[in-house]
Structures are given as structure tokens and as C-alpha cells.
Amino acid sequence: MIDFIFSNPLLAALIALVGLSLIFGAILGFASERFKTEGDPIADQICDLLPQTQCGQCGYPGCRPYAEAIADGERINRCPPGGEATIQALASLLDVEPLPLDEDVGEEKPKSYAFIREDECIGCTKCIQACPVDAILGSAKHMHTVITSECTGCDLCVEPCPVDCIDMIEVPVTLNNWQWQNPAKANDLIATDRGQS
């Protein structure tokens, strides 16, 4: 063995390298099969950041398709319900520059929920078919109503209603969801401003 190495150094080195590469190749190949991740992990992470209103304002049929599109290079500023916060979160996840919300897709609105004026409802079931999260209850020719706690406020049900009896109502501030506001960011004041407030 040692004689062979000494007598054919070039060949020995070649054999050693080829052998090593085969071994590592086999290990890597096995690992890539064994520890294969299902689906697209980046798209999953992006999907978790999206607000899941399934409103389709981004132009994709739901949050998951948009997440997949972002993973494939779509711009991150097409989600009006998520607004600025979602754009920031996506930017930091993907390490890209945060963009202002795309005006073509809509504007950030306060959180709201759908409300059916029940005495005007004709029971056409069109809103039920439009609701992406099955938050509308009712059957043909019977009054429909929105399960407020399940409503994502996507307003997809408003447009199909033939009698325009669906309103989007802003979620009111109650003791349960009231929150302290960040103090005015006044740190750029200089000392001479003291006592002026």
C-alpha cells in the first residue's frame, strides 16, 4: 500500500480525492433525501406574516398564493389589510427595502367587519359563496347573517350583494381592545423647548 503510494504519488492522490468526493457525495445525497423539507419554507414564513383576510386585493386568490408569489419575487407592498406593519415584517424577513403600500391595490383601512342589514336581505346566498372563511350563515330565501367573530373584514361579500344590504362596520374601541398609545415621539426637541408644552 505504502509502496504503491510512494511509487505512484499522482495516481494515489487522484484515487484518494475521487474516493473522498464519492463518499461526501453519497452523504450529501442521502442527507438531501432524508431531511427533505415539504413545501416551500420561505412561502410558509411569508404566509404566517400575512393577515389571512383572504381578501384577494393583492390580485392573488388568497394569502397563500400571494405568499408563494412573494417567494418567487413578487413585490411585498400589495397587502392593504396588513398595511405598513406587514410590509415592515416582510421586509425584515426577506431582507429587502420596505416599499410604501401599492396604491393600485387599495389603501390601509381600519379594521372592520361585515354586517348584513337583515330585514333587507333577500336570501340570495351570493355573499355566502363569496365569503372565504365561511363566516356568513343562512340558506336560500332565508335571511343571512355574519358571524362577527369569524369575519376577517375582507369585504368580498359587499360587491356580490344584489340589494346592497351589507355594510362594513369599523371595529369599535372597547375596554377589551383599547390600548395605550405610544407617546408622541418628541425626542427631537431641544432644551429651549422645555416648558412650552
Binding site: Q52, Q179, N187
Partner: protein
């Protein structure tokens, strides 16, 4: 009495300002004209009102019951009448309204029947805890956590800590309580000791209250250690006091019970004593009225629900001097947006400072990273780091730096040389993070619902596709069957004559029977659809059930008819005449004979079944007084007729001597019938029936739908015309 006092990190020494409110002795504030009792003055779920407007209530009567485990009931603080149950502004930093019970007091202050427990030493601990729960006792130190929940802990408790520190400036409510009611505190502690069976009882108080310490020590029993801790803010925080007295640190996100400690305020101990020994629920508390705007500052015993405006009159508050009204102390209190808000179980102080006494905070300047806040923090946090992360909304980092361990004591803001309102940043960030968690949970929920919906839609689509495929398959099979049959018929040739006749006939009937098969499949489709509708209507409890049921019945009947008419010709005409004839002929040749009427018996039994079913329906309709009784009657008659006809045929067949001959004759007769589909006499009978039905409809329409009368009339006329024509043909 010589317990070791441990140390806590941080802390500040703000001016105490306790002297002002200690000038006057404790007094009763009196009964205001109206008491406002918010339903959620404790931590946890709001209580449920159990009285109605206009009801008379007595002092101590329960007016709202606890709603869940972490909740507390509410009792009437005095006798009177329930004036309203409505939204009123409450003592909350948001200034929002919340549901309240309003009592119009009658001034008589009549108690309801109380049931004090004299010998609580013989009672079960769980019974006593239930009494404490029903007395509505919630922590009176500040957070308002229902005390019964603390006492019902299943973790091993070795130390009971009674909090008499009251470290916040200006407030002296607990101090005066300890000075004047030390025996009651000890009585409460005795009950708590019985309930928790701790090894040690530590009563912590500060060295700036010497009278209170003296009173406590003189009345303390042997097992209560009165521990005097050095004055420092915020030693009175629950976690801080536990650390001071026991050296144990409550873990992040944990409860004192996790380190074997239960901590209760001195006022809560008195409330427990009152609840057990006197049977009195928690209906009053001691509140400090202080600040330079009060002409008569001092401590008052107030009924829960007393409006602040009433207390301002009592303390002779000078409106001109008042700059703002604060509930709680200067460190942790909040500015009241409204003077109508009531005192609740946790309100320990009303502070009415002048502008000079408590000036508005100067504008904040930039953080110079001096680190004074970190030195002051009693929870060993890094306030300036939290401040930067809070400004940048870096929620993850905030949580990593244990923002939720912040007790919002305000020591950092107090020590900040740049006057940065640090606590406000933390409060806002805590709220943002909580909201983000709620939103994330909601988003996850919405995602699940969306995915469930997608899965359901896909499944329905697949089911539909499968149904379509099955139908296509069935149609294909039927078509194949038909060709196979015809091939078989060609192959079988024992009686050439019969085949020749049958072929001739088949060529005439094949198409019609095929179209009948189509019709049957169509009807089957409609029937399935109708049944599905019926099922969904049933499950939805629709009021259209009878109509749908009727529709399904009608379809089923039609289908049965169509099947009969499609099988009859294909089997009884195409197959039967040939096949049966062949079979019979074969049998005859083989000398078998007999058993030829098997195929004929089948339709009869079917008809009999249908007839019975129809009769049952008719009976049901009659008993229900349905308006469809005539139709059903007609259907039963028709069926009976059919049955009779079928029976006659069989009889004829049975009667015939020569089976082959009979079969051939029958086949011929049928073919003849097929070639001239209906004998004129039959036609006339049918037309007469239709006419009768149409007339009936017309009669109904004249009653119910006058607008359709003309159409029905036209139909009747047409039928009459046809009938006349048919009659004429017969006449010829």
C-alpha cells in the same frame, strides 16, 4: 420579629407626601344619592347582574354574580332601588364607558340578613373559600385579583405574606387601616392561616409608619412576624415584597404560588375577616383624599360605587386650584377623564394636586444612555434598551428583553434626566404585542377556516365528477347490454318464425325504448337532486318540507312509471315475445312446460306493492286533510285498474293450453298494439281522464289563481276537441 430583610434591586426615594392625609382621623364619607357599580371592577370576567331595574335592594344584597372562576360578585353597598343598568364612564385610563349598575340610595342603610360564621375553625377550607368568593373580595392593593382564586391554589404554600408596605407617595389608606384596625387585620390573618396552613406568616410594612408598626406589633399574635422594611419605592409591589421578605424571586411569567408564597394586602385581610366573622360582603373600602386642592384631605371609608364628585365635595376640593384629578398615586395612578366615575374595589387614593404640586411633565429629550433607569428598575430590566426597541416596534427584541416582567412602577421614568415617559412606551408596546398575538391567533383561525373551505369545495367538486363518471359508466353499460341482448337474440334460432316477427317489431321499437331509457335516467337524476334538496331542507328545518316531499314522491312515481314503460316494451315486447316465446318453445320441445308465468307474476307483485303504498299515502293524506286527496285517489284507482289488467293477462296465459301458440299470439297481439300505439278506445279513455284532471285544475285555478284561468280554460278546450276527434274515429 427578627426576620431577615433581603434586598431588591433598584428602587427610588421620591418625596413621600403622606403627612397631608394623616392630619385627620379616619371618617365615614357618607351615603351619596347615587352609587355606580361597574360590573368589572376586578381582574377577570365582568360580573352578571342578577337584579332588574326598579328592584329594591338591601345593603349587602348580591346584585351581580361572578361569571366564571376568575371573577367576583358585586353587592349593594347600601339599601335603595336599582335605578338603571347602563353604560357609564368608569375609572379606566381609556375614559371609555362600561356597563354599571346604578343604585338610587334611600338613606336608610338597611342590612339584608347576614350569616356570620362564628366557629370557622370547624368548617372545611373549601367552604370558607366559597364564602370569601361569594363576598366579592378582590385584591384591594391595586390589581383587583379575586382573592378566592389566590386562596384556592393547589400548589404547596409555606409562606403567607401580608402586604402593608404602601410605598407609593401620598397614599395612606393602608397605613391608617393598620394603625386603627390592627386587631381586625390579625383576625383576618387567623382565617387565612387556617385556610392556607403556611409555616410562616410575614406582615411587611415600611419604617416610615412607626404608629402602624407599633399598633401591629401590639396586636400581633405569636405566629405573625411583623417585618419592617426600609422605605423605598416600589417595595410594595407583590413580587418585590416577596423578594424582600423571603429572598425568593417570582419567576418570569409566574405567580407567587410558584415559589410557595401567597401575598395579600392588609385591607384584603380585613375584608376576609368581615366576610367570615361578620358575614359582610365587600361593600366599602378606605380611600385617601389628598393633594393640595383638597381643603380637608384625609382618609375616608367610602362605599364602593361612590362618585368621585361626591368625595370632592366631602374633601372640599378647590376647583380653582385643581390641575388634574388622579386616581391612585403619582407614580402608578392615571388621570381621570370624568368626575362622575365611581370608586371601585381597587381605588386607594384620589389625588387632587395643584399645578405647582404636580406639574405637567416637561418635554422629553433624547436618551443620553446614562443608565439611571437601569439602576432604578426593581425588576432588573434594561429600560433604555426596551425604550429603543419600543420606539422601533421591535416586538421580538422586547420580548427577549422581558418587557412583560415590567411592573410599570414608573421608577425609570422618575429617574430619567431626559424626562422620557418610559413607562408609557412600555405600556403601548405591551398593548401592541398583545394585540399582535390576538391578531396572529385570529389570522391562524381564519387561515384554518379558509383551508377547510377550500378542502370542502374541492371535495364537492370531486364528488360531482365521480357522480358524472358513474353516470357515464352506467349509460355505457346499458348501451352494451342492449347490443349484447340483440346479438344473443340473433344467435338464438330455435323458432325462426318468432325471431323474424320479433326482429321486425324490434326495428320498430328499438328507438322508442332507447328514448325511454334516456327518460328514465333523466328522471333518476331529477329524483336524486330532489332527494338531496329534501334532505338539506329537512336538516335546515325548512318550512317547504311538504312541497319538497310531494315533489320527490311525484318524481318517484314518474320514474316508476317510466321504468315500467321502458322495461315493459324492452322486455315484454322486444325480449319477452321473442325470448319468452323461444324459451317457452324450447321448454315445450324439451317437454318441460309449465312455469311460464314467472315473468308475468313479477309485474303483478310490483303493482300490488305500489297499490298498497299508494293506499297508505291516500289514508295519510285523508287523515291529514290534505288537498291532494283527490289526486291520490285517482292514482290509487289507476293502479288498481293496471293491476286488474295484469292479472287478467296472466290468467289468460295460464288458461291457454299451448304455451308456444299463446306466446306467439300474445307477441303478435302486442306487436299489433305497438304498430298502432293506442286503440282508439284506449285513447278516448285516456283523453277523458286527462280532461277530467284538466277540469279539476281549472276549478282549482278559478279559486286560487284567476290570472291563469284563461290558460287552463284553453287546455280544457283543446282536450275536449281531441276527445271529440277520437270519438269520431271510433264512430267511423
Amino acid at each position: 420579629m427578627n426576620s431577615r430583610v433581603f434586598n431588591i434591586p433598584g428602587g427610588i426615594h421620591p418625596p413621600e407626601n403622606k403627612r397631608q392625609s394623616l392630619q385627620r382621623p379616619l371618617r365615614f364619607a357618607g351615603i351619596p344619592a347615587q352609587l355606580i357599580l361597574p360590573l368589572n371592577m376586578h381582574l377577570g370576567a365582568p360580573a352578571k347582574p342578577c337584579v332588574s331595574v326598579g328592584e329594591k335592594v338591601l345593603k349587602g344584597q348580591c346584585i351581580a354574580q361572578s361569571n366564571g372562576v376568575v371573577s367576583a360578585p358585586i353587592h349593594a353597598p347600601t339599601s335603595g332601588m336599582i335605578g338603571a343598568i347602563e353604560e357609564r364612564p368608569i375609572a379606566h385610563s381609556s375614559g371609555l364607558n362600561a356597563p354599571c349598575i346604578i343604585i338610587d340610595t334611600d338613606g336608610q342603610d338597611r342590612w339584608c340578613d347576614l350569616s356570620p360564621i362564628k366557629e370557622w375553625g370547624h368548617r372545611d377550607a373549601t367552604d370558607l373559600i366559597e364564602i370569601i368568593r361569594r363576598a366579592g373580595i378582590a385584591g384591594m392593593g391595586g390589581a383587583g385579583f379575586p382573592s378566592a382564586v389566590k386562596l384556592a391554589t393547589d400548589k404547596p404554600i409555606d409562606t403567607l405574606v401580608i402586604n402593608g408596605v404602601e410605598c407609593e407617595p401620598y397614599i395612606t389608606a393602608d397605613q391608617i387601616l393598620m394603625t386603627e384596625r390592627a386587631e381586625q387585620i390579625m383576625a383576618g390573618i387567623a382565617i387565612l392561616k387556617y385556610l392556607l396552613k403556611p409555616q410562616r406568616i410575614l406582615l411587611g410594612t415600611e419604617d416610615n409608619k412607626p404608629e402602624a408598626v407599633a399598633a401591629l406589633q401590639s396586636s400581633a399574635t405569636n405566629d405573625v412576624e411583623v417585618v419592617v422594611v426600609p422605605t423605598k419605592y416600589p417595595s410594595g409591589g407583590e413580587k418585590q415584597l416577596i423578594q424582600l421578605l423571603t429572598g425568593r424571586e417570582v419567576p418570569s411569567g409566574g405567580l407567587p404560588a410558584d415559589v410557595g408564597v401567597v401575598c395579600l394586602n392588609v385591607a384584603t385581610a380585613i375584608a376576609v375577616h368581615r366576610a367570615i366573622d361578620c358575614g359582610e360582603p365587600l361593600i366599602s373600602r378606605i380611600t385617601t383624599l389628598t393633594g393640595e386642592a383638597f381643603k380637608k384631605p384625609g382618609n375616608v371609608e367610602v362605599l364602593i360605587g361612590t362618585p368621585i364628585s361626591y368625595l370632592m365635595e366631602q374633601g372640599e376640593c378647590d376647583e380653582k386650584k385643581l390641575s388634574r384629578l388622579i386616581m391612585g398615586g403619582p407614580m402608578m395612578g392615571f388621570t381621570l377623564p370624568n368626575r362622575a366615575v365611581p370608586i371601585v374595589k381597587t381605588s386607594n387614593c384620589i389625588l387632587a394636586p395643584t399645578a405647582a404640586e404636580l406639574p405637567p411633565p416637561p418635554p422629553a429629550q433624547a436618551c443620553i444612555r446614562c443608565g439611571m433607569c437601569a439602576e432604578a428598575c426593581p425588576a432588573s430590566l434594561l429600560p433604555q434598551q426596551l425604550y429603543w426597541f419600543s420606539r422601533a416596534s421591535e416586538h421580538e427584541k422586547l420580548e427577549q428583553h422581558n418587557l412583560f416582567d415590567c411592573i410599570e412602577c414608573g421608577a425609570c421614568s422618575y429617574s430619567c434626566p431626559s424626562n422620557i415617559p418610559l413607562v408609557q412606551y412600555y405600556r403601548a408596546s405591551k398593548a401592541e404585542i398583545r394585540q399582535a398575538r390576538i391578531d396572529a391567533a385570529k389570522a391562524e383561525h381564519a387561515k384554518q377556516r379558509f383551508e377547510a373551505r377550500q378542502a370542502r369545495l374541492q371535495r364537492l367538486e370531486e364528488e360531482k365528477a365521480a357522480q358524472r363518471a358513474a353516470r357515464a359508466e352506467a349509460a355505457k353499460k346499458r348501451a352494451e347490454q342492449a347490443t349484447v341482448n340483440s346479438e344473443q337474440q340473433v344467435e338464438n334460432d330455435p323458432v325462426q318464425a318468432a325471431i323474424a316477427r320479433a326482429k321486425a317489431k324490434r326495428s320498430g321499437t328499438q328507438e322508442t325504448s332507447a328514448s325511454r331509457v334516456d327518460e328514465v335516467s333523466k328522471l333518476e337524476k331529477r329524483l336524486t337532486a330532489a332527494k338531496i334538496k329534501l334532505a338539506s331542507a329537512e336538516s335546515a328545518g325548512s318550512d317547504k318540507l311538504p312541497q319538497l316531499q310531494a315533489a320527490v314522491d311525484a318524481l318517484a312515481e314518474q320514474l316508476a312509471n317510466a321504468k315500467a314503460s321502458s322495461t315493459e316494451p324492452t322486455e315484454a315486447e322486444t325480449n319477452d315475445p321473442i325470448q319468452a316465446a323461444i324459451e317457452r318453445a324450447k321448454a315445450k320441445r324439451a317437454g318441460k312446460g309449465g312455469a311460464s308465468n314467472v315473468t308475468e307474476l313479477d309485474p303483478i307483485s310490483k303493482l300490488e306493492k305500489r297499490l298498497t303504498a299508494a293506499k297508505i299515502k291516500l289514508a295519510a293524506a285523508e287523515s291529514a286533510g290534505s288537498d291532494k286527496t283527490p289526486q291520490l285517489q285517482a292514482a290509487v284507482d289507476a293502479l288498481a285498474e293496471q293491476l286488474e289488467h295484469a292479472k287478467q293477462q296472466t290468467d289468460i296465459e295460464v288458461a291457454t293450453d299451448d304455451p308456444v301458440q299463446a306466446a306467439i299470439e300474445r307477441a303478435q297481439a302486442k306487436r299489433a298494439g305497438k304498430l298502432t300505439p293506442q286503440t282508439p278506445a284506449d285513447e278516448i279513455a285516456k283523453l277523458e281522464k286527462r280532461l277530467a284532471a284538466a277540469k279539476q285544475k281549472l276549478a282549482m285555478a278559478s279559486e286560487n289563481a284567476p290570472d291563469k284561468l284563461a290558460a287552463f280554460q284553453a287546455g280544457v278546450d283543446k282536450l275536449e276537441e281531441k276527445l271529440a276527434a277520437a270519438k269520431a274515429v271510433v264512430g267511423e
